[in-house]
C-alpha cells in the first residue's frame, strides 16, 4: 500500500508477517481473506507510523514548556483571586466597624450584606481546590506522555517516584465534586442523624 512515505524496519516486518501468513495458507485464498489481510497490513502500517510520530514528538516542549507554563498560569489565577478576595474582605471589615456609627436598622442591613459577601467569598477555596485538581491532572498527562514517547522510541521510561502509604484521610480526599455528584447539606444531615 504505497503512500509515498519512506519504508522503515517496522513496515518490512509487517510485510514479512503478511507473507508468512499467506504462505501458511493451503490452497487459494478467498477474496474476503485477501481483503482482510490487506486491512491487517494497512492497520499495521498505521500503527507503525503512529509509533514513529510519537517517537518524533518534541516531548521536551510539552514537558519542559507547555505544561509548566499551564500550571504557572493556573497558580497565578489562584493567586489573583486570593488577592481580590482579601481586598473584598478588607472592605467588609471596614463596613463592620461602621455599624456602631449608624442607626440599628442600617447596622442590621449592613451586617446582613456583609455576611452574604463572606459566604460568597468562600468560592475562592472551592475554585482553588478545583484548579489544584486540574494541575494534578496535567502533571499526570505529562508523566504519561513521557512514558509513551520513551516506549515508542525504545528508551527506558522515567521511573515513577515511590509513593508513601496514604492515610485514610488522604485516600478519601477527592476535593469538590461536580454539580450533581455532590451530597447536599440536607442529605448529610439526614445521614448523620441515621447514626443516632
Amino acid at each position: 500500500m504505497p503512500d509515498g512515505t519512506p519504508r522503515g524496519p517496522e513496515e518490512d516486518r509487517i510485510e514479512a508477517a503478511v507473507r508468512a501468513v499467506l504462505g501458511s495458507m493451503a490452497g487459494d485464498i478467498t477474496a474476503k481473506e485477501a481483503a482482510l489481510l490487506a486491512e491487517l497490513e494497512a492497520l499495521g502500517r498505521t500503527i507503525a507510523r503512529a509509533k514513529a510520530e510519537i517517537a518524533a514528538l518534541s516531548v521536551d516542549d510539552i514537558t519542559g514548556a507547555h505544561i509548566p507554563s499551564a500550571t504557572d498560569e493556573l497558580d497565578a489565577i489562584v493567586g489573583h483571586t486570593a488577592q481580590a478576595t482579601n481586598e473584598i474582605l478588607d472592605c467588609c471589615e471596614t463596613l463592620e466597624k461602621l455599624q456602631a456609627d449608624v442607626p440599628p436598622e442600617a447596622a442590621a442591613a449592613l451586617q446582613g450584606a456583609v455576611t452574604r459577601i463572606y459566604e460568597a467569598c468562600s468560592f475562592q477555596d472551592i475554585t482553588g481546590q478545583r484548579i489544584g485538581k486540574v494541575v494534578a491532572a496535567l502533571k499526570a498527562i505529562e508523566r504519561r506522555v513521557e512514558a509513551a514517547v520513551a516506549n515508542a522510541s525504545g528508551r527506558a521510561a522515567p521511573e515513577a517516584e515511590p509513593q508513601a502509604p496514604r492515610t485514610e484521610g488522604e485516600a478519601l480526599a477527592n476535593g469538590p465534586q461536580l454539580p450533581g455528584g455532590a451530597t447536599s447539606q440536607e442529605e448529610i444531615d439526614r445521614l448523620l442523624a441515621s447514626f443516632d
Partner: protein, 126 residues
C-alpha cells in the same frame, strides 16, 4: 452556651480562615486561634485549652480526618466538639468522619446560618 470558649479553626486556605473567623465574630465567638494543617492544629490543641475545633479535611501534611482521629485518641482532647467543614461531600467521607467521632459536618460552600446552627447544636450537647 458559652461563647467565651477558645475556638481553633483549621484550614490550609488563609482566606477561608479569615472568612470563618469573621463569621464567628458575628456569632460573638471572639477567642479564635488558627492553624493551617492538622499537625499544627494538634500541637496547638495539646498546648492550649480549646472548647471547639472547626476543621477542613483536605490539608497536608495531616488531613482533617487524621487530626480528628488523633484528637479522639488523646485522653485530654477526646471530648472536644469537632466540626468538619469541607468540600469533601461524598457519602463515604461523611461516614468515615462519623465513625472517627465527628460532632457535625458542614459541606462547602456553606452559609452563616448553617455554621451557627451546627455550632449551637454541638455546644449544647457538649
Amino acid at each position: 452556651m458559652d461563647r467565651n470558649i477558645n475556638v481553633l479553626i483549621v484550614d490550609d486556605y488563609r482566606t477561608m480562615l479569615r472568612i470563618i473567623r469573621n463569621l464567628l465574630k458575628q456569632l460573638d465567638f471572639n477567642n479564635v486561634d488558627e492553624a493551617t494543617d492538622g499537625q499544627e492544629a494538634l500541637a496547638k490543641l495539646r498546648a492550649g485549652n480549646f472548647g471547639l475545633v472547626i476543621s477542613d479535611w483536605n490539608m497536608a501534611p495531616m488531613t482533617g480526618l487524621d487530626l480528628l482521629k488523633e484528637v479522639r485518641a488523646d485522653a485530654r482532647l477526646k471530648n472536644i466538639p469537632f466540626i468538619m467543614i469541607t468540600a469533601e461531600s461524598k457519602t463515604e467521607n461523611v461516614i468515615a468522619a462519623k465513625q472517627a467521632g465527628v460532632s457535625n459536618y458542614i459541606v462547602k460552600p456553606f452559609n452563616a446560618e448553617t455554621l451557627r446552627e451546627k455550632i449551637e447544636k454541638v455546644l449544647v450537647h457538649a
